[in-house]
């Protein structure tokens, strides 16, 4: 009973089992694995037992994938040494065969009665996950409670999907209340709202279990069956219509990404509500899986800040580990200033994005649509960090800081010397002169930091060609959950 039921819907109803039909328990791990895989493709790797976990291999859109599921019918899915060995066995199989692996989580954590043995088992899963990191794509789907060890399991994987009824926390509401006195229910502590907006633990929220499994299937297909870039099949679309006439006006970047990708309905945005000032989306472009990273001027003006830099850095490293080329769409006014940001570690956390891009060996193409300023210019896959190719639209501006701010620094004395009522006009005049010598896109091209100025209506083919011509490569590193 797979969740893609286009075929099963047309099948004749099964003959009624005799004597009494028993409805399958929807929490049965076998039922869940069957729903995840293509119809009839599940082959079990472990026994159906009371260990609390079941593992198997099956197909998703025809490609083989390994999966395991907690069994919440036994001790709430708690993990004992035997169940943990099942999961480690599934990992061994996935790594040996180089297959994506999906975990369906519904577990209260380590089995209390087993003591250190269950802790040791859970630790062995963590070690297996870490060794598989960057080797095979790992996707987690949280369908019920995932507490303690069962919370850190998904957290170690590449992508975490949370079903509406899923809950993730280290310690539940009772322990929280007894230790800190905070009165909180399970949903507010570890449900979709906190994890999609505040914690960044969850990449994708699904409205129910069916949608959660569908998203896992799509992600397994995007990462496990990436396809080949065919630039000759890429049609030109004008991507520029979205930009407002006023260059200072903020806008939502999503329509540009949607026009760039082959089929936006098939793409999956990761962390859409956490650090929304940067967008990270997996989708197909020219028939091939790509990772798109885009500043979103609608949120925080598109500034980079500590959280968005960290979110993008993890995405870059994941894509690099699996050989997924990157398309970086840049419109960034700078790093977000403020005491909060500095004390929040914007220097340390922003450095992660510099490190991630500079380290990446996958083809990575940059498109500057409007402005790219200061340290954020460098961070957004600049030429200096090793971009495969850097394109800019004719309207683009690259500068160390905005022109008016720059002349206030460069011409502080000259500006102070004029009467206040004339100062503004002088600022604008100096800014225009400054822009001419330092900020224009032509100057950036002369310096070689922009390879080519292209029209918005001729952008898709140019990006596709740049990716197709680059040497395919894959970073030799894990994908630590930054």
């Amino acid at each position: 009973m797979t969740v893609v039921d286009s075929r099963s819907a047309t099948q004749a109803p099964e003959p009624a089992p005799s004597p009494e039909p028993v409805a399958p328990d929807p929490r049965d791990p076998r039922v869940r694995l069957e729903a995840l895989f293509d119809e009839g493709s599940l082959r079990l790797l472990t026994e159906e037992d009371t260990s609390g976990a079941l593992a198997g291999v099956g197909r998703i859109e025809g490609i083989p994938v390994v999966a395991f599921a907690s069994d919440p019918r036994v001790q709430g899915g708690a993990m004992g040494s035997e169940g943990c060995e099942h999961i480690v066995h599934a990992y061994d199989h996935a790594v040996r065969e180089r297959l994506p692996i999906i975990g369906l989580w519904h577990s209260g954590g380590a089995r209390l009665a087993e003591g250190a043995a269950s802790l040791h088992g859970v630790g062995r899963i963590f070690a297996a996950m870490t060794k598989a990191s960057g080797v095979v794509p790992q996707i987690s789907v949280v369908l019920g409670a995932a507490a303690g060890g069962a919370a850190y399991g998904p957290a170690l994987t590449d992508i975490v999907i949370l079903s509406e009824g899923g809950r993730i926390f280290v310690t539940g509401p009772d322990v929280v209340r007894s230790v800190t006195g905070e009165d909180v229910d399970m949903a507010s502590l570890g449900g979709p709202e906190p994890h999609s907006k505040r914690s960044g633990v969850v990449h994708v929220v699904a409205k129910d279990d069916t949608e959660a499994l569908l998203k896992a299937r799509r992600l397994a297909s995007l990462l496990g069956h990436q396809g080949r870039m065919r630039p000759e099949e890429v049609e030109e679309v004008d991507l520029g219509g979205v930009l407002p006439d006023n260059p200072r006006r903020a806008y939502d970047v999503h329509p540009i990404i949607n026009k760039l990708l082959d089929d936006p309905a098939e793409a999956i945005e990761l962390h859409p509500k956490w650090a929304p000032n940067i967008v990270t989306t997996l989708g197909r472009f020219g028939g091939r899986t790509v990772g798109v990273i885009a500043n979103n001027p609608m949120r925080l003006g598109g500034c980079l800040d500590s959280t968005s830099a960290e979110k993008a850095a993890r995405f870059v490293r994941m894509c690099d580990a699996f050989g997924v080329p990157l398309v970086v769409i840049v419109d960034v006014p700078g790093y977000l200033p403020g005491v909060g940001q500095e004390h929040d570690g914007v220097v340390r956390r922003g450095a992660k994005l510099l490190h991630a891009f500079a380290e990446a060996v996958v083809p990575r193409v940059t498109l500057v649509t409007r402005k790219s300023i200061g340290g954020a210019y460098i961070a957004m896959n600049s030429r200096a960090l090793g971009a495969t190719r850097v394109f800019a639209w004719p309207t683009a501006e690259i500068a160390v800081m905005g022109a008016v701010a720059a002349v206030r620094v460069l011409h502080r004395r000259k500006l102070a010397a004029v009467p206040e009522e004339e100062r503004h006009a002088l600022e604008l005049q100096l800014a225009a002169e400054h822009e001419k010598i330092s900020g224009g896109v032509q100057r950036a091209q002369d310096l070689g930091v922009i390879d080519e100025i292209i029209e918005p209506a001729k952008t898709r083919r140019a990006i596709a060609q740049a990716i197709a011509e680059a040497t395919p490569a894959r970073g030799a590193h894990g994908s630590i959950p930054l």
């Binding site: 903020a250 609608m298 003006g301 500034c303 006014p333």
Partner: protein, 70 residues
Amino acid sequence: MAEVRAEMVANVWKVLVSEGDQVEDGDTLVILESMKMEIPVLAEDSGTISTLKVAEGDVIQEGDLIAVIE
């Protein structure tokens, strides 16, 4: 009831609604100016503006209340 709060420190550049106005989800309420960008603040719910806490020229901090939609 939906509270609309500032995402970042900014100047209030334009106020496009008044208390008592009906707004739809996605309507622009005010336009902030920060980082040399004009950033629209949108209604995330439909309803009536019951409270409007900002005026043009104000400086608002991250987390400050801009409006309440009921």
